[in-house]
Amino acid sequence: MRRITLWLLATVATVVLLFSYKTSTMGAGGDTSAIASGSDGSTGSSWSGTDAGSTGSGLSSGDTSGGSGGTSGGSGGTSGGSGGTSSGSGNGTATGAVAQTRWGPVQVRITVSGGKITDVTAVQVPDGNHRDQEINDYAVPVLRQEALAAQSARIDTVSGATVTSDGYRESLQSAIDAAHLK
């Protein structure tokens, strides 16, 4: 339970970070480049917004949970994607790529208003048995809160008790790292 919650959080946090990164760095009409390449299970992502000149190129961060640099242990590939927007004052929603997890597909949608993330919802979560339902009931609201909190803090890095490779896969730091690997 805790593992999937943290894992889902990393995915959402990546989407959020990718999203806010793009929101704040792209100039009008700017080109978008993939922040990291992910070939696993990504089915693309989309952005719909009200900004003129918005470019909706998908970004996918490969393997957010397994770690960057390909040095830590393998893991199920995940891909958090997000759409790009051309200015920081957009309104609309960004839907992340579908991440294939061992529990099933996960996809999140971020709602932006006035350039700020105002909501995070799960578009797709694993279902079909009691345990999955339990995860949805618990994890999704937690994710929403955490993603919003991470954004409002806009942190660059996390200081905490020593992280091992196992813990790293589920950490917010790994999501921050993944958002800037390229």
């Binding site: 919650t5 943290l6 959080l9 990164y21 704040s24 760095t25 770690g67 960057s68 640099g69 040095t71 830590s72 920081g88 955490e146 909190a149 991470a150 803090a153 806009r154 942190i155 660059d156 890095t157 996390v158 200081s159 905490g160 008790a161 020593t162 992280v163 091992t164 490779s165 813990g167 790293y168 950490s171 917010l172 730091q173 790994s174 921050i176 790292d177 958002a179 800037h180 690997l181 390229k182």
Partner: protein, 270 residues
């Protein structure tokens, strides 16, 4: 849109010294080979230091000594430096940081400078990035952070993890340079020992120290976690360093010079 977000930023992450180490750089040349090669040197040097100091590697200098303190007269200069720094750390912490009698991976107790080597090695390796003007550095080694910013650049925002809920932040501090180090029991259990009793220190959940040098921020955080009850009073006496402490009951307190949003606590020493 502000200056920070217009700068190119790039991250590298490598598993070294048993830790995920991430290097983030902001600046105009982060996508050049020159900068990438510098970053590679940082990781390479951390790997070299691990090969010397790791107590998990039987073939390392420390591994071969099996817990004996290296003889300063015959030791390599880096080893001598670390032995001397461990002594200095013991003196500066009133004996609460003591590398001499720690449990060793292979069993038994002996000299294990790992608690100091991480900060020391990271600061040392980061010199490969020192002469990159116009570039800002945020290096995170398993939760301990070293920061630099070029003149006129915005500070980095460092989240302080809640030890009971690692996905949440207790506070956020804005730092242009120096270090933020956290020690505690959140991720590895009670692994910090009270050097006076040899028993796990459990009165403190987490200590975060902010200050100019990573080596000392890390050593002070570890020593404070070992001290337990009077950790905050002792931390308040350290010149140039500020701290945030979470005790076993979950109470969060900070020294009066703490740079985050948490209000400082008046301590007897302050």
């Amino acid at each position: 849109m502000n200056l920070t977000t217009e700068l190119d930023r790039r991250a590298w992450v490598v598993q070294v010294m048993g830790l995920p180490v991430s290097v983030h750089l902001r600046g105009p040349e982060v996508h050049t080979d020159t900068v990438a090669e510098r970053v590679e040197r940082v990781f390479a040097e951390l790997g070299e230091m691990d090969a010397v100091f790791s107590t998990y590697r039987p073939e390392s200098v420390l591994g071969r000594l099996g817990g004996a303190v290296p003889d300063p007269a015959t030791a390599a200069p880096v080893v001598r430096e670390v032995v001397e720094l461990c002594e200095l750390a013991r003196a500066r912490t009133g004996g609460w940081f003591d590398a001499r009698h720690l449990p060793l991976p292979g069993g038994g107790t002996g000299f294990d400078p790992s608690g100091l080597v991480k900060g020391w090695a990271v600061e040392r390796a980061a010199r490969h990035l020192a002469d990159l003007p116009e570039h800002d550095l945020c290096l995170n080694a398993g939760g301990d952070v070293l920061l630099r910013t070029a003149p006129g650049r915005p500070a980095w925002l460092v989240g302080i993890e809640d030890p009971d809920r690692p996905e949440r932040m207790l506070d956020v501090v804005e730092r242009a340079g120096g270090a933020v180090a956290t020690s505690g029991t959140a991720r590895r259990g009670a692994h910090i020992l009270d050097p006076h009793t040899g028993r796990p220190a459990e009165a403190v959940r987490s200590v975060t120290v902010v200050g100019p040098e990573l080596l000392w921020a890390d050593v002070y955080a570890t020593a404070a976690a070992a001290r337990g009850a009077d950790a905050l009073d002792w931390l308040a006496t350290l010149d140039g360093y500020a701290a945030l402490v979470v005790d076993a009951a979950g109470r969060v307190r900070a020294t009066s010079n703490w740079p985050g949003t948490r209000a400082g606590t008046q301590t007897r020493a302050a």
